[in-house]
């Protein structure tokens, strides 16, 4: 799943339209939208770090996110001299309040240039050679507890700079700027999806695990052993029917013993 967070309704609207995201009416603390296939969600967080942190946590609780999910903070930001409307992926986030720094891991071919971002507590027109916003550090700080650094990113579109400061920004302009970069957002998602799929594939439980856990009693350490043995089984005895072998086992312990003994007595070749 892909979770997008925008501070402002005008940042969110072009994405809601583009990805066709209906409003999920059952959640009222923050506005959450989600595609019918549940692949993409978008949450409007409101301005500032507190709102962003609360919204990410809320969304996580409401939608049951997974370790393989993609997390994106998309919105506008200021910069001293990058032209308005240009887009940047963030490669370093510094919280101006305490100088804590995070490094989103761009381990794919980025669809646009990347740069440093500073998250401020209050709006400022004291532009420097960094992006400025008011949410990214909070977004990253919470999202990194829920996902993997390679799948959590901030994408910012330049809305103001030293030549045209925040006074010139309005909702209409923001909508147009975001709409103009939808292709880059699509590309970013396309590059992140295979990484997400890879994490999903390595975190998924082996075949029959869930069924056995529900049917028989396993302690916590026995469940771990079961998961490991089922995996070893699929690698060492891929053509044998494991369920048939353990059909007569009446307890979790008996299943583990049967699996272990059969695996240990099988031949092992590391290659074909």
């Amino acid at each position: 799943m892909i979770h997008i967070f925008c501070a402002l309704p005008c940042e969110a609207q072009p994405l809601i339209q583009h990805f066709k995201l209906p409003d999920l009416k059952e959640f009222d603390l923050f506005r959450i939208y989600q595609s019918k296939d549940k692949e993409i969600s978008l949450t409007i967080t409101g301005i500032g770090k507190l709102n962003m942190a609360a919204a990410v946590s809320y969304q996580h609780a409401c939608l049951n996110t997974a370790a393989s999910d993609i997390w994106l903070n998309i919105g506008v930001a200021g910069h001293a001299n990058i032209p308005l409307g240009e887009v940047r992926l963030v490669n370093k986030i510094t919280d101006n309040h305490d100088n804590t720094t995070w490094y989103p891991q761009i381990i794919f071919n980025s669809p646009c240039k990347s740069t440093h971002l500073i998250t401020l507590d209050k709006p400022s027109t004291d532009y420097q050679d960094s992006l400025y916003d008011m949410e990214s550090s909070a977004f990253y700080q919470i999202a990194i507890r829920l996902g993997s650094a390679e799948l959590i990113h901030c994408l910012k579109i330049i809305s103001d700079n030293t030549e045209q400061d925040t006074a010139t920004v309005n909702a209409d302009k923001v909508k147009k700027m975001i709409s103009a970069q939808v292709q880059i957002i699509e590309k970013l998602i396309d590059r992140l999806k295979p990484l997400s799929t890879e994490i999903y594939s390595i975190t998924a439980e082996p075949e029959h695990y869930q069924h056995l856990i529900e049917k028989l009693h396993f302690t916590q350490s026995e469940s771990l052993q079961l998961s490991r043995l089922l995996r070893q089984w699929s690698l060492r005895l891929p053509d044998e029917d494991v369920m048939q072998l353990i059909a007569d086992n009446k307890s979790g312990k008996a299943v583990l013993k049967t699996l272990r003994d059969t695996i240990n007595n099988s031949e092992f070749a590391i290659h074909d």
Binding site: Y103, I106, E150, P206, R228
Partner: protein, 332 residues
């Protein structure tokens, strides 16, 4: 090859940093205070990062040269290792670095001068004794040599300190800088091998056996001392046939005179590293190998371990004198 470079502020103007940055004009450069902010941060995925690892240029402050475990000695009483680099270009599935580090990025400590100073201090402390230094614990010693200039910086130190011996442990064919200079007696280039089919299965992005063997022969031809490392020994049902073929291939070609040492040891990992790797690569057969746990390590059961070590030892000692052979007969 490298598209992102993190640079510690402290060494941003170090001549080695500047030289390396010059080689990668198009890379995105990101400054950081300490490399650990990037390298050690949690919630990173080693497997994903391996797809496009970044380079981190940093300064090593302490623990530059450390005592190395006795089991890995190759003939001296005093053994130390140092890591000018963390992580490796290659991607061997059995590599313990995947378990040791959070991140797959390559860290290069550019302050070689401090490593060399510490090595000199150690030599001074142990007057008249031979001291062995090992460089390939946390990286492949040569794989990134064209970028790091590691050998051209460290070998002059060896040349002027004949009591020291340096082992460069590698699976690489990056030997150009070595061939360009006169060989040094107290430097051993130690090549690691597993049989061809096993290497193809487990050693990703690594030069194949023939290329490695050719690099080894080129070095011997030029007069360099080489080492052979059959560590880890990998178990498979036909291991005897596969290892026999590998040994035949190697021993029929190498010059025993210029073979400094041979060592071997079974595949084993600290338990927590093994468990981490098993999670990172759940579809990897290596982690479904016959296994036993001893003293917080996971490796092959004693029976398999001893059988393999004895088998290999038998063949190896037919080719080289016992004093050049260093089996690692520890428990797992």
């Amino acid at each position: 090859m490298i598209s992102t470079i993190y640079i510690e502020e402290e060494i941003a103007n170090h001549p080695r940093t500047l030289a390396i940055l010059k080689r990668f004009p198009d890379a995105t450069k990101i400054s950081c205070q300490r490399y650990g902010e990037v390298f050690n941060s949690k919630s990173q995925n080693f497997r994903l990062q391996k797809k496009q690892a970044a380079l981190i240029l940093a300064r090593k402050h302490k623990g530059l040269v450390l005592p190395s475990p006795k089991e890995y000695a190759i003939g001296a009483e005093l053994n130390y290792y140092f890591s000018h680099m963390l992580n490796c270009l290659y991607d061997c599935r059995y590599c313990f670095l995947q378990g040791k580090f959070q991140s797959a990025h390559y860290v290069l400590f550019v302050n070689y001068e401090d490593f060399i100073e510490e090595m000199q201090l150690l030599l001074n402390q142990h007057d008249e004794e031979a001291v062995h230094f090992f460089s390939g614990y946390d990286c492949d010693s040569l794989a990134l040599d064209p970028v790091t200039d590691f050998t051209s910086e460290f070998l002059p130190f060896l040349e002027s300190n004949p009591r020291a011996l340096l082992e460069l442990r590698t699976k690489s064919t990056q030997i150009r800088s070595l061939l360009k200079r006169e060989p040094i007696k107290n430097c051993v280039i130690a090549f690691s091998f597993t049989p061809d089919k096993i290497a193809r299965t487990l050693e990703h992005k690594v030069p194949d056996i023939n290329k490695r063997l050719q690099a080894l022969l080129d070095l011997q031809e030029a007069g360099w001392q080489i080492g052979l490392r059959f560590d880890p020994l990998i178990y498979t049902k036909d291991y005897a046939k596969e290892y026999s073929e590998l040994f035949n291939e190697i021993f029929s070609k190498i010059n025993p005179e210029l073979t400094h040492s041979i060592s071997l040891g079974g595949f084993r990992l600290p338990k927590d590293y093994f468990r981490k790797l098993e999670k990172l690569y759940p579809d990897e057969k290596l982690f479904a190998s016959p296994q036993a746990e001893e003293k917080n390590n996971i490796g092959y059961p004693a029976e398999i371990r001893h059988e393999m070590l004895d088998f290999c030892e038998n063949i190896i000692t037919q080719h080289i004198p016992a004093e050049k052979f260093f089996p690692c007969h520890e428990t797992i």
